[in-house]
């Protein structure tokens, strides 16, 4: 290692009309270093990375590249300097092959056959085997991420930026990606690793820059810190933990799904194949799995936004509901928090109060076809106070809330209606630690009061923290259920790749598939 930083940021500042996203941030990363940028959602991590990659222009501050000041004009310029970035959300064309996708992103237009050969060599070389001829829509999310990573590796980057890369991977796949990153670093590549997952950063990263509210709150060597001390720097207080669950009360079966199969309306969606599970009163059932394995389709069927041909496939307290619309199912005691907040769970352009009416109208807010605004306002206020939603007032537009507060409000709206069955999808996606805690606690309290709760999540930590039982969804099939205390993340991780009794990969042990190295999902 020499003493010139590969990349140095001095006083980087980016001001948006409503918020200072970055406030004079200093950051230094040396060749061969894996450097974490740690912060909660909305802390300004992504803005900072986009500034380095030339996507946004900083308002103030300097970027030094190998000791020389540069102004990065655009992503092409960044790539020319040797900066590669793997985004959290992929930008791949589903109808094209891996080679074609990679060729599209290159600045000169290469010939496809030699490129395919290079992809094969480089991917094998880094232990990330990938068939260049495959069409992207047939790839799992983990493999798609591999395409994105290879796209960067082919440019032989000096600095690789990874934005929340593990959110789409099984625990096994995370191992493999870490090995690749360590090897890259050993070859002298610098890696900027953005995440809010403390354990990953402690395991992988040499140094960390912690930001909160757009400002640097600390520099650390993760190996010398504890999760608690990092969390303190990240959220400014102790990491909150949820209070305990009461022992399982074995109640009546509430939701029952029997052999549910559907064809997805989206040509690149997932068909559900013979889904079976049930949720009882007083328990939280978790559905683990990587997004895109049928979660969307299953939830549409459960909420009633999509009707099922045979009404008996889904029952609530033995009442067939497959043919009922969401409104009718809510009358039977269903509450539902979708993963899309704005535009589905909440209406942009309406106030908090009006958004309360959306599903809570059945609780005395409508009389003779007219809205009772006082009732609605009371309900909204209850939601805001009960779930500590930070907002100006109940008459503010819902879009003025941050992601975490919006999720608290929507979850609160559903829970305050005292559902017998609550279904929550990705309860803490993009939600800060404090709000995530409020939401998880609320689900546990609801369970303790005897309701049935179904949680669909990608975060295994979260599922292990709050659930009583787990099932896994892989390629549109459901696994048998496991008591949380009888399993562990490794087993669930394997199951997430489809290797469970009756699962899509059951008969083909890991060595014979082309996604052989556990980077499967």
């Amino acid at each position: 290692m020499n003493n010139t930083p590969r990349l140095e940021l001095q006083g980087m500042t980016k001001i948006y009309p409503s918020v200072i996203a970055n406030d004079s941030i200093d950051l230094r990363i040396y060749p061969g270093e894996i450097h974490a940028v740690l912060g909660e959602n909305g802390a300004g991590k992504s803005t900072l990375m986009k500034a380095i990659y030339g996507v946004v222009k900083p308002d103030r501050g300097r970027i030094l590249w190998n000791g020389k000041p540069v102004v990065i004009q655009n992503p092409a310029h960044a790539r020319k300097l040797g900066i590669g970035m793997v985004f959290q959300h992929f930008s791949l064309f589903e109808t094209l092959t891996v080679t074609e996708n990679i060729a599209l992103a290159m600045d000169d237009s290469p010939r496809l056959e030699p490129l395919a050969e290079r992809i094969r060599t480089v991917s094998a070389d880094y232990g990330l085997p990938l068939d260049p001829e495959r069409l992207v829509h047939s790839l799992s999310v983990g493999l798609r991420q591999r395409v994105e990573i290879l796209r960067c590796l082919l440019q032989e980057p000096k600095l690789l930026i990874m934005d929340e890369p593990t959110s789409v991977l099984t625990p096994q796949a995370v191992r493999i990606m870490f090995d690749t990153l360590r090897r890259l670093a050993a070859e002298g590549c610098s890696i900027l690793y953005i995440s809010h997952k403390l354990d990953e950063i402690m395991e992988l990263c040499h140094k960390a820059t912690i930001i909160r509210g757009g400002k640097v709150t600390g520099y650390a060597k993760p190996a010398e810190e504890t999760a608690a001390s990092l969390a303190r720097m990240m959220i400014g207080k102790e990491l909150p933990i949820c209070s305990g669950k009461r022992p399982v009360i074995s109640g009546r079966k509430c939701l029952q799904v029997n052999d549910l199969s559907t064809k997805s309306a989206d040509p690149f969606g997932t068909d559900l194949q013979a889904i079976n599970f049930s949720v009882s009163e007083g328990e939280i059932l978790g559905i683990a799995g990587i997004s895109g394995n049928g979660q969307q389709e299953l939830l549409y069927c459960l909420s009633g936004e999509r009707l099922v041909d045979d009404k008996n496939l889904i029952t609530i307290y033995d009442v067939p509901v497959g043919h009922l619309n969401p409104d009718q199912r809510r009358n039977l005691g269903l509450g539902f928090v979708p993963e899309e907040r704005l535009g589905r769970g909440a209406v942009p352009g309406m106030s908090l109060t009006y958004n309360g009416i959306l599903t809570a109208h059945r609780h005395g807010m409508v009389k003779n076809g007219l809205l009772r605004f006082r009732k609605a306002a009371e309900f909204a206020q209850q939601c805001i106070t009960g779930f500590s939603v930070q907002c100006g007032s109940k008459d503010d537009p819902i879009t003025s809330l941050s992601g975490g507060n919006m999720q608290k409000y929507i979850t609160g709206r559903e829970i305050l209606q005292q559902p017998k069955l609550l279904i929550v999808s990705q309860p803490t996606w993009g939600v800060d630690v404090g709000a995530a805690n409020v939401i998880r606690q609320a689900m546990i309290d609801l369970r303790n009061n005897g309701s049935a709760v179904l949680v669909v999540s990608e975060e295994l930590d979260e599922l292990f923290e709050i659930c009583d039982r787990l099932i896994v969804l892989a390629q549109g099939r459901s696994s048998p259920s496991l008591q949380v205390q009888d399993t562990n993340k490794e087993e669930i991780g394997l199951w997430m790749s489809g290797m469970f009794p009756g699962g899509p990969k059951e008969k083909t042990p890991r060595t014979t598939t082309q996604e052989q190295d556990g980077y499967v999902c």
Binding site: R329, E340, L358, T359, G369, L370
Partner: protein, 358 residues
């Protein structure tokens, strides 16, 4: 490209309500420029166009007579527009209202019963509803585009009206003119204020706007329509029945246009003619948008639009302007409104980065 269009981070809420005013002012300025280019004295033209028509009580009565169908239809259309249901067929639905209402007046010609007027209005409403039900049915069953269907049905309706007054409903003693008999007094709306032509239909229209206000702003169905317009996925998530909302959105325009058609022939016209509306059904679309799809705003914008009609007539008589001038003003108003709304959500930026790169 030297100019880039980029979304504004936070569209101004104040400007959302100011944009109709800005549009009206820009329309005025453009109008005065056009007058000047035509060689008219702009001050005199302004006076003839906007002051002259309403300088006395009679003129104000005329203003309300013209505004009445616009505000009534505008409110009915706004109910659908809020849910992104685009009924462009009010002109035809109005014609059907006139045909149905006029038919009652013609078959009960000479009778002095008090039930004729209410029956005319009821049948007018039914006529409008039936005509609006066609695009609604085609949309809910076949997913046919309601804009095209309702628009094309306008021409069918107008030809139907023309056929009827040239044939079956023609006044047998009318020397072959294409018009029906003059309605009896019992089929005519009473005048409200002596010395004007202000008739009961104006009051009915204002009441209609009031009902629309309660429906949209206080009613649960109005809320559902609003949700469906802002975020259809949220409406599905909540379990609102979208097909029902399509029917409500289409038929609300049909019923108001039908009633307006009946009121027109029972009010200022007094008989069935080949044409019963100077484009009220189209102008009401502009009225609805200039009024921000809010009944209060629609009331005000209908008065502005009525003034354009009156000003156009006055301009033709006093300034020798072509009759197209009313349409030009309507077009300018809508154009500026759309531009102002666009600029609330987007801004133009000179593309300086391009030059840096050379």
């Amino acid at each position: 490209m030297f100019v880039r269009i980029e979304p504004r981070p936070e569209p101004s809420r104040v400007m959302k309500y100011c944009s109709p005013l800005i549009a009206a002012v820009l329309m005025l300025i453009s109008g005065l420029i056009i007058f000047t280019l035509l060689g008219k004295d702009p001050v005199q033209a302004f006076h003839a166009f906007f002051i002259e028509p309403i300088h006395d009580l009679y003129g104000i009565g005329e203003l309300f007579i013209k505004a009445a169908p616009l505000m009534l239809i505008g409110t009915g259309l706004a109910i659908g527009f809020r849910a992104n249901i685009w009924n462009i067929g009010a002109e035809g639905q109005m014609a059907l209202g006139a045909i149905f209402g006029g038919y009652i007046a013609i078959i009960f010609h000479g009778s002095s019963s008090h039930f004729i007027l209410p029956l005319m209005i009821l049948c007018g409403a039914i006529g409008g509803i039936l005509w609006a039900a066609i695009p609604a049915l085609l949309k809910t069953v076949f997913n046919a585009n309601e804009i095209l269907v309702s628009l094309m049905l306008n021409y069918v309706a107008l030809l139907l009206l023309e056929f009827l007054v040239h044939g079956p409903l023609r006044d047998p003693n009318g020397y072959g003119f294409p018009q029906s008999v003059l309605f009896s007094d019992s089929a005519m709306l009473p005048i409200l204020i002596e010395g004007t032509r202000l008739h009961l239909g104006v009051l009915i229209s204002i009441i209609g706007v009031g009902i629309g206000w309660v429906f949209l702003e206080k009613g649960f169905t109005g809320y559902q329509l609003q949700v469906a317009g802002l975020a259809q996925k949220a409406a599905t998530y909540a379990g609102f029945k979208y097909k029902k909302l399509i029917w409500i959105g289409m038929l609300s325009g049909g019923i108001t246009a039908g009633i307006a058609g009946a009121l027109e022939i029972a009010g200022p016209i007094g008989q069935l003619l080949p044409s019963v509306s100077p484009g009220y059904g189209y102008a009401a679309i502009i009225v609805a948008f200039v009024g921000r799809l809010h009944p209060g705003g629609i009331f005000l914008s209908s008065l502005l639009m009525a003034l354009l009609y009156l000003g156009g007539e006055s301009g033709q008589m006093n300034l020798d302007l072509p009759s197209a001038v009313t349409g030009i003003f309507q077009g300018l108003l809508l154009f500026y409104l759309l531009a102002a709304d666009f600029l609330i959500h987007y801004r133009l930026r000179l593309n300086s980065r391009q030059r840096e790169n050379g």
